[in-house]
């Protein structure tokens, strides 16, 4: 199989203009130094299926992609013959507002999907990073990406109710359904959330939606110490409040937010951003309770609403990746709610002992900490190792979401997958015995 015959076959399937072979253009699909030999942009499920059948017959590896915003996630693929982007599959198929569901092709950008849903006053409550840069629905599912709204609404796992997938042998199957309650057969959508393109290519997704609330507001408060901020978190979670988001930023991150969102947060303070989405009266009432709780912990703050609120949350989502620059790493720690302070204490220690600059923001009601770690590559690497040991020992995990090549080449981005790793590998090899789909990226 020569490169030119591969290209010829892909052109036969997807059309001349939809196959990219130019080295410069392919560089945008670089995965830790591995660039694909070619990229193809099919226009529908039938074409995806044909391409995968061809790849399967010829044992060519396929890396599924959307806009390519998360190619840094996972290990470097063992092989990358073809990047298959669903970017042109960008139709919203249906929005059944009365049933609070919508179905779309997986190349639809999250921000475009939002605009469509907004016409009927509904939304998909997933707010991951990279939204600005064109995160697609398929990419969000495949990477199980999420944002601060997960406290109030859950993640893709909770919201994806049905899907259509092209399997590694090119067969098309559907999983789940278009109704919010369904227990017929195995829950295959769950298997695909976070599977990183290793089990096939998700081409269509059905989500459950939520009504856009009448009102939304955020209380942004600064605290004199980590202890005060964390103690406020505990009180907020124990209260009767219904929180959409609860973010705990370390001082470095809070300063970054303060600059970008043009909001006054005192320097060197831990900050909480507490969001309420509800009917207006309920938002007002709860803000009152929140400011009371913060005051008990000597926290003072301000209410952020409207456009300023939108900018604030956009920055909270995107900043870890923007701050990391090209020499930094972005990490996601998953720990218990009560262990968030341990992560913050360790970050402080590391910044003293090894000179790394940590910017961190925690989904404090979930135990997810997004960390941007900058510094000399040796220190970044040893800091990651130390943090991972801390998280794993406490029953959690630390995933490297992106890192410079010299760091990633010496560190596994996933860490310990535990006693289920063997079972995961069996699933992978039953679905993809030739190991052609995103080989090595996850398993």
């Amino acid at each position: 199989m020569t490169q030119s015959s591969i290209i010829e076959e892909l052109i036969n399937i997807a059309g001349q203009g939809n196959v990219v072979t130019d080295g410069g253009a392919l560089a945008s699909y670089d995965m830790d130094g591995r660039s694909p030999a070619t990229a193809v942009y099919p226009s529908d499920t039938a074409q995806v299926s044909e391409i995968v059948k061809y790849a399967s017959a010829e044992s060519l590896s396929v890396i599924p992609a959307g806009s390519g915003t998360k190619l840094a996630l996972g290990r470097r693929p063992e092989k990358a013959d073809i990047v298959l982007s669903v970017g042109r599959m960008d139709r919203v198929i249906e929005h059944e507002a009365a049933d609070l569901i919508a179905t779309a092709e997986c190349g639809v950008l999250l921000q475009d999907f939002r605009s469509v849903l907004e016409e009927r006053k509904q939304f998909l409550p997933i707010d991951p990073a990279h939204t600005k840069n064109g995160a697609t629905l398929g990419g969000i599912i495949a990477t199980n990406d999420s944002g601060p709204l997960r406290l109030g609404y859950g993640t893709a796992r909770e919201l994806l109710i049905g899907m259509k997938v092209v399997r590694p042998d090119g067969n098309v199957f559907k999983g789940g359904s278009k109704v919010v309650k369904n227990v017929a057969g195995y829950d295959l959508p769950k298997l695909y959330v976070g599977s990183l393109g290793t089990l096939g290519i998700i081409v269509e997704a059905t989500f459950r939606l939520y009504p856009i609330t009448e009102s939304s507001a955020t209380y942004l408060a600064g605290f004199g110490s980590l202890e005060n901020a964390h103690s406020a978190v505990g009180k907020l979670l124990k209260s009767d409040l219904v929180l959409a988001s609860l973010e705990h930023m370390n001082p470095g991150f809070a300063s970054g937010i303060s600059n970008r969102a043009e909001l006054e947060i005192s320097r060197n303070h831990h900050a909480l951003a507490i969001r309420i989405m509800n009917v207006r009266k309920a938002v007002e009432d709860q803000l009152h309770t929140i400011s009371g709780i913060c005051k008990e912990e000597e926290g003072t703050g301000l209410v952020v609403e409207g456009e300023r609120e939108r900018v604030l949350w956009e920055n909270i989502r995107e900043l870890p990746f923007e701050l990391s620059g090209h020499d930094g790493a972005v990490l996601k720690a998953g720990v218990l709610i009560t262990h968030v302070p341990l992560v913050y204490e360790r970050l402080d220690k590391l910044s003293v002992s090894s000179g790394v600059r940590p910017y961190a923001t925690a989904r404090a009601g979930n135990g997810v900490v997004m960390i941007s770690l900058n510094g000399e590559s040796g220190s970044v690497r040893s800091s990651i190792e130390e943090l991972r040991e801390l998280c794993e020992r406490a029953g959690g995990s630390l995933v490297v979401q992106s890192a410079p090549g010299e760091v990633k080449s010496e560190i596994d981005p996933w860490g310990n997958m535990g006693s289920a790793a063997g079972l995961m590998k069996r699933i992978k090899s039953n679905f993809d015995p030739q190991n052609i789909m995103s080989p090595g990226r996850l398993l």
């Binding site: 044992s59 059944e96 369904n182 057969g185 295959l188 976070g194 979670l237 998953g334 289920a420």
Partner: protein, 498 residues
């Protein structure tokens, strides 16, 4: 699947006595039930139309014991069925011929209550309601609330992905299970997920929830608990036509209100409930819509008038708001006893469990009525209207020749109506034994084949609750997808590979 070699089962090459001894050596003599009198109690679950007597019932006390029993079965090719409280309505815990039942009822300890992290870790035999009881003193509860919650177990809930009456707002079991310890069919003990979020790798926990006991036996479950809402308000509204009740449901969500629960009962249902327990439902109402709002006081107070407005727009006759907790409980008691109350108006009834898109309710109910007339059997309707989960109750008289067959046929046709409207054959009761022939209404060959790939990854010998869920027997002779080849034989379909 049942493709197992006949002589490999108990009574064949595996001698019954010998096998009993080996089970006893693992579990002690009180851990193995082998007398016919006692075994009879395990010959069905709550779907009593199917009965098969197991060879033995074993009652392990620990994960290690479960593992050793499963390993023994694996080595001897003996099939088994896991069982919780046996309250399932789809025959999921129906024993298999020449197999054993593994009862998890003695593994009933709550292992950990961690309030600051909002987690509870339990063994599978813990009763659903005991989780809430263990945390209610701290202001928390466990959200999934199937009607059988005073007896059904968390292990069974995990197997069936059980729902309840508050699913629209709070989700179903899968949304509250964060991790499991599972024993795989070869005896291997594996942990997936856990108390911390976002563990890397495939979502094994998500696959196991709702897998109806076909992938392994879950021995430890990490649950999420949620705070009790500050305020709860419950009302019911009566309507002449059930279609108007249905339109109210869509109207309420269209106004941006997600109630904690919305339940509809039709007239037949109302009358039987009133006859059974007089909760105060008006017996001449065409239908009743029960709405429960919960949350911060300000939210509930702001949403209540919106709900009432929508109800009036949709021609509600009477709107009655529960004045106190006692009255609220009474409103719910009527709904929760709708199934047993059917006994008052019919000697036998069959509970169906279809799901439809909310917006198609009027049309689907019309079609169910037509089917009811065609078969000459009454159908009472009670449903979780918020999430479109219908429970049509087909009433029949088993002493009348052919009535029971007719009822089952009618119930099957109702599922077809549900699937044709874009819905599902089961919302919370599972496929089990009872509905496996209907699974292909929803899923094509390639969908079912993909599910089989999952099953074979867990249970290559097909010993774990075999014969359930899937419409046709599937084995794992050659597990795994074959590479695509331009070969006319394989082009004919992937089915031949199995």
């Amino acid at each position: 699947m049942h493709s197992l070699n006949k002589e490999s089962k108990i009574n064949g090459s595996v001698r019954k006595e010998d096998f009993a001894n080996r089970l006893s050596s693992i579990l002690g003599p009180d851990g193995v039930i082998s007398s016919d009198d006692e075994l009879i109690a395990y010959d069905s679950d709550a779907l009593t139309g199917y009965r098969i007597k197991p060879v033995f019932v074993v009652m392990p006390r620990s994960t290690a014991e479960v593992s050793r029993v499963m390993k023994l079965c694996y080595e001897n090719d003996v099939p088994y069925v896991p069982r919780g409280a046996g309250t399932g309505l789809s025959g999921g815990a129906l024993p298999v011929e020449e197999g054993i039942v593994i009862s998890l009822s003695r593994m009933n300890r709550i292992l950990e209550v961690d309030i600051p992290n909002e987690r509870v870790v339990v063994e599978p035999g813990v009763v659903n309601l005991s989780v809430t009881k263990a945390v209610s003193g701290y202001g928390y509860y466990y959200a999934p609330d199937p009607s059988s919650q005073i007896v059904c177990t968390i292990g069974g809930n995990v197997a069936e992905n059980s729902g309840g009456v508050h699913c629209l707002k709070y989700g179903v079991t899968t949304n509250h299970v964060l991790g499991v310890e599972v024993v795989l069919p070869d005896g291997e003990i594996v942990e997936a997920g856990g108390k911390a979020p976002d563990m890397p790798g495939y979502d094994i926990t998500g696959l196991l929830v709702g897998s109806e006991g076909l992938l392994g036996i879950v021995t430890k479950i990490t649950l999420r608990i949620v705070k009790k809402p500050e305020t709860v308000k419950t009302l019911f509204a009566t309507f002449d036509r059930v279609e108007d009740a249905g339109a109210s449901v869509s109207g309420i969500t269209a106004r941006g209100v997600i109630p904690a629960g919305m339940e509809i009962m039709d007239n037949l249902c109302i009358r039987s409930v009133e006859e059974a327990m007089s909760v105060g439902y008006p017996v001449d109402a065409g239908s009743i819509l029960l709405v429960e709002l919960d949350g911060p006081r300000a939210e509930v107070e702001a949403q209540m008038p919106i709900v009432e407005e929508v109800l009036k727009e949709n021609k509600a006759q009477e709107i009655k708001v529960a004045k106190n907790e006692k009255e609220r409980e009474l409103f719910w008691k009527g709904r929760k006893s709708a199934f047993p109350a059917m006994g008052r108006i019919s000697s036998d009834y069959y509970v169906q469990d279809g799901v439809i898109p909310r917006s198609r309710l009027a049309e689907v109910l019309g079609n169910i009525n037509k089917l009811s007339e065609k078969y000459g059997l009454r159908v009472a309707n009670v449903f979780h209207a918020g999430d479109g989960n219908l429970h049509p109750l087909v009433l029949y008289d088993s002493s009348r020749e052919g009535d029971s067959e007719k009822a089952h046929e009618l119930a099957g046709e109702i599922l077809k109506v549900c699937v044709d409207s874009g819905g599902s054959i089961t919302g919370e009761h599972g496929v089990g034994e009872d509905k496996k022939k209907f699974l292909s209404y929803m899923f094509g060959e390639s969908d079912l084949d993909t599910m089989n790939l999952v099953r074979c990854s867990f249970d290559s010998k097909g010993l774990c609750n075999p014969g359930k869920v899937f419409p046709t027997p599937r084995t794992c002779v050659e597990p795994g997808i074959k590479p695509y080849r331009e070969n006319p034989l394989q082009k004919a379909g992937i089915g031949e590979m199995y």
